[in-house]
Symmetry: C2
Subunit: 598 residues, 2 copies
């Protein structure tokens, strides 16, 4: 019942027709890659996810993880599932061949991330946090550090962890107080405590490479005084063998509402010495800048967590709706109970789940495609435009995919009725797991601040305008494309008009007074993201129509994709019209009261 | 931190100025009641909730409940908290004096329900389910049954439970199979098994009065063949003393996502005999009709669960926002960290929680007021109009208060950031508890079917039109009521226009084809409910403006109430404009695909 089937047909339709993989594989950097090699990887990987990972998901939720002495005990089957992943070399797929990677496009890695998260989000966090650490060392580490740590992390022999948060330094990372004192030998002694360290301790691998943000004694205040260090659990000798145990130890793991199997650790550095041994990455006080390098990937990764949970929740709810009989649907034969999938409101819920999930996939894959183009596009202007698009879309993708994953997983419970509220059914877990995705890696409110404060002003609004122009080009394509697409044409046009209306206000009021922009940020972000999602679903609708008209091999599936595109346009996209007024309402009512009057 | 303070100022403002209690206490039935007696009750009751009940809430979530032998063990402090409630006679307050009640208006009972649910929703279910059972016996039981059971239930010496659901009979109650066989002595032997019986077993009281739906051997199929029985845990002798243990026993309790402390029981009848002894209420085969009698109260009660959770979640989040420092808000002194309540997006979240909670309170109290008028209004036309309004507003109140409670409690977590996801913080519980309220007592999808299928057609649309006229009268009052209310005037007018647009489609298309109406039901319900909530918030705004202009004692509070009314109009009410297109989309896309294509 709680089985997971990798949605290969949907993925293939997307990569074949909507966000064309063959445009990427034409690039010089991917000349060794073709459709067959990509789908070969995806299908084999999908089997591991379905057969080995997915069955551990509910077990992990039930057992959680716990501290025993200096170790963290994870749930039954987790270590084996991780090791099967590591031994097959799956972690390396989207990384540079120079460091042992498979050289595949990032979008392939994102498809794999979707499956990882559908199969077992809590366990997926071990490799995903490792990817963040890899990113940091790859871009900012020394050759020696790459040699010593990176190869083993790309191969998944070791995991990485990200150590940022402290009790008084969450969203405000600049407030952190962990100390780093330089020694004569060039190493540092790290002391302090960090919280919310995902897989900060476990026994999957022989070593863990902690990346730790800390502050040297004379560092400037705030984010400009933060440095980034490698603090390995075991020191690594020059021959690559493991040396002494470093003085970084588990204090406790949190008791959470979801992703219970992912150990969220409190780690202490230097409690038993003058400090854990740390190695500076790059230069002192540049740590925040280095963090920004990996931020886009990490935020996209969290959006993909939402996508993965939404997909699994949908599969689960659809399976139930097709086997549960209750009442009589319209048109049911007399005396014959109906499967609930035939009830109009259950249909509406299922299509809402399906259309949102598809739109999340399009948005996440689109960003991933542009990450690849930004890295390996044919020329500089192409790469620059792609990078700009990535920067603009990241807060939209992160917030949309995680906010709507809450809607989708909640609807998944609703379709199960009272059984959905019973934990053994398994669907409540997706809902509980989802909530954290709206919070970490920058809360969705912080995404909105990033959107209005950093992204909208890019190139004096030019980056935003390029996106609007892209969407309007699709509207032009839809115009006169036939009755099947008329609703999409109407609703996408109206949504873009709403976006432009809100943007006009934001750019005039928000430039004059940043508090106006910050007050409007969240409704503006949802308005923008919903419009972009609606645009991508329209692109899907156009592609589907072309295939149907041509009568190609995918015509049956295209007919389905056209319906979900239309459903999105009619049922979900119009929400934008409820968001213009909240944007324009600005700060007035928010600050009409003092805190004590609230 | 997780304290609960009964929101007396908000309650008093509502009952003094928005939904005036003094209109009710003028009625002959309430001549012994006045403002002082009502607030005397509420304040004393509120102390019990704050001091005794509220501290048990997190304990209950942690400990849950479990079966030991033939008994259910509830969480620490629960029995004592229930008994303190029972011994003070609080259960009796809103019931008829003829049966030992306090004779207070139902709206006073609803205010108490709000506090019960804020303090501890899981425990509140014991008295609330008892109220449902009281309703049934009061309206349909024999004098002997009232004498024997009702008095002890009104006094809360015994609890009641509702036994409806079976594994294959959930939303479709008519499918139930529990058997009832009549004996020569006029009693029945009940055999079968039921699930989802809230407080079906516990040790708070000496006896439990189960109301059980069952089917006699020759009963017609479906809902027309269901009878309602009293099945006491212990038989009651004619002198009122307890006799033999009846053959109704606990099988198990469910492991749930929320309200973990409320034992959700599987009960077996007659496993050790030829049946548990049951006493027919009223006539055979009339059970479903009797259930409908109590349905309005029960559904309003579930809406009030949403309100209670929203209020507590808001208090918790506000407390945190006022004591947690993080980052620099606009205008903060250099080097001085801000309380997060000063950040614009946190403000927006808090005002969203506050405005939604106030609107839920207005909606729930408005329905309760009309229940009182329907019972005790001065003349028949007044009573009829009130009953019609209750019938129309019940699905709106149930669905709106529970759907938006999900939004509010989710936002409460969001304001806490990562800490919100840690169970010890306590806010995740409200979110987990809330989800069931969208499901039981008729899922919100079933509420929507009730709205479009039964309520909109009442008096050929006349009941609906009366509601529209009431709202338009408020728009007329708002017109020219000053700049402070201009936004409310604009947005309420626009919302009513959207409602009329959608209603026009529904009444023409939905009359021609019920599948159209059923397909549009959920977005239509949300559109209608949001408009009604916006109307009540506008009424609050008008009242606040009058008080401010008059410079009365409540002027400070009125200034706050005006802001929340305006916030609702600008930020929340415009959502209706995203719901017209989904209504009008109708059935086409929902049934464009077969189940296998989904």
């Amino acid at each position: 019942m709680a089985d997971y089937t990798p949605p290969f047909r949907d993925i293939a339709f997307t990569l074949d027709h909507v966000i064309p993989l063959d445009e990427l594989t034409k690039l010089a950097a991917y000349e060794a890659i073709d459709r067959d090699s990509v789908f070969g990887v995806l299908e084999e990987f999908g089997r591991l996810m379905a057969d080995v990972w997915a069955p551990t998901n509910a077990v992990g939720d039930h057992e959680g993880s716990r501290v025993e002495g200096d170790e963290v005990v994870t749930a039954t089957g987790f270590k084996e599932a991780y090791q099967a992943y590591a031994e097959a070399g799956w972690g390396a797929v989207p990384f540079d061949e120079a460091y042992g990677g498979g050289g595949f496009p990032w979008i392939v890695g994102i498809v794999m991330q979707e499956m990882l998260n559908s199969a077992n989000m809590a366990l997926a966090m071990a490799p995903l946090l490792t990817q963040g650490a890899i990113d940091a060392i790859l871009h900012h580490g020394s050759e020696e550090q790459k040699e010593k740590y990176l190869l083993k992390m790309v191969s998944a022999e070791w995991t990485g962890s990200m150590n940022l948060t402290e009790p008084d330094a969450g969203s405000d990372v600049g407030a952190l107080r962990t100390k780093a004192v330089k020694q004569d030998d060039g190493t540092y002694r790290i002391s302090g405590q960090k919280i919310f360290i995902t897989f900060g301790e476990h026994s999957f691998t022989d070593n863990i490479v902690h990346l730790v943000l800390a502050r040297t004694p004379d560092a400037p205040a705030g984010t400009k005084g933060i440095s980034l260090f490698i603090v390995p659990k075991f020191l690594v000798n020059d021959d690559g063998s493991l040396g002494e145990r470093n003085d970084v130890h588990i204090v406790s793991v949190e008791h959470k509402m979801g992703i219970k199997a992912s150990p969220t650790c409190v780690l202490a550095y230097g409690d038993n010495s003058d400090g854990a041994i740390g190695y500076l990455i790059g230069e002192e006080n540049a740590g925040m800048r280095y963090m920004f390098t990996m931020m886009n990937n990490a935020r996209l990764g969290v959006g993909v967590e939402g996508l993965g949970l939404a997909e699994r929740s949908y599969q689960h709810a659809l399976g139930y709706a097709k086997e549960r009989k209750q009442g009589y649907a319209p048109g049911a034969a007399r005396g014959e109970k109906s499967f609930i999938v035939e009830h109009p409101d259950v249909r509406r819920m299922l299509l809402t789940m399906k259309a949102y999930t598809e739109s999340m996939r399009l948005l996440a894959y689109k960003v991933a495609e542009q990450i690849d183009v930004a890295r390996h596009g044919a020329d500089e202007p192409t790469r620059t435009e792609a990078q700009e698009m990535v920067d603009l879309l990241i807060p939209l993708a992160k917030s949309f995919c995680t906010d709507l994953a809450e809607t989708v997983t909640s609807t998944g419970i609703q379709i199960h009725g009272g059984m959905g509220f019973i934990e053994e059914t398994g669907v409540a877990q997706y809902y509980r797991d989802t909530k954290i995705t709206q919070i970490y890696e920058g809360t969705n409110g912080i995404q909105a601040m990033d959107l209005v404060g950093r992204k909208m002003p890019m190139r004096a609004g030019g980056v935003h305008q390029d996106q609007v122009d892209r969407m309007k080009a699709t509207v032009a394509e839809l115009s006169g494309a036939g009755e099947d697409l008329a609703v999409i044409h109407r609703e996408l046009s109206a949504a873009i008009a709403a976006l432009e209306d809100a943007t006009g206000w934001l750019l005039s009021e928000g430039l004059a007074d940043p508090v106006q922009a910050l007050s409007a940020a969240t409704p503006f972000q949802r308005l923008y993201a919903t419009t972009v999602a609606g645009w991508l679903m329209a692109v899907q609708g156009l592609a589907a129509k072309r295939i149907i008209d041509a009568g190609g091999a995918d015509a049956d599936l295209a007919a389905v994709k056209l319906v979900t595109a239309r459903f999105f346009a009619e049922h979900l996209l119009p929400q934008v019209h409820g968001l213009v007024a909240p944007v324009k309402a600005g700060k007035a009512d928010l600050f009409a009261l003092t805190a004590d009057q609230l």
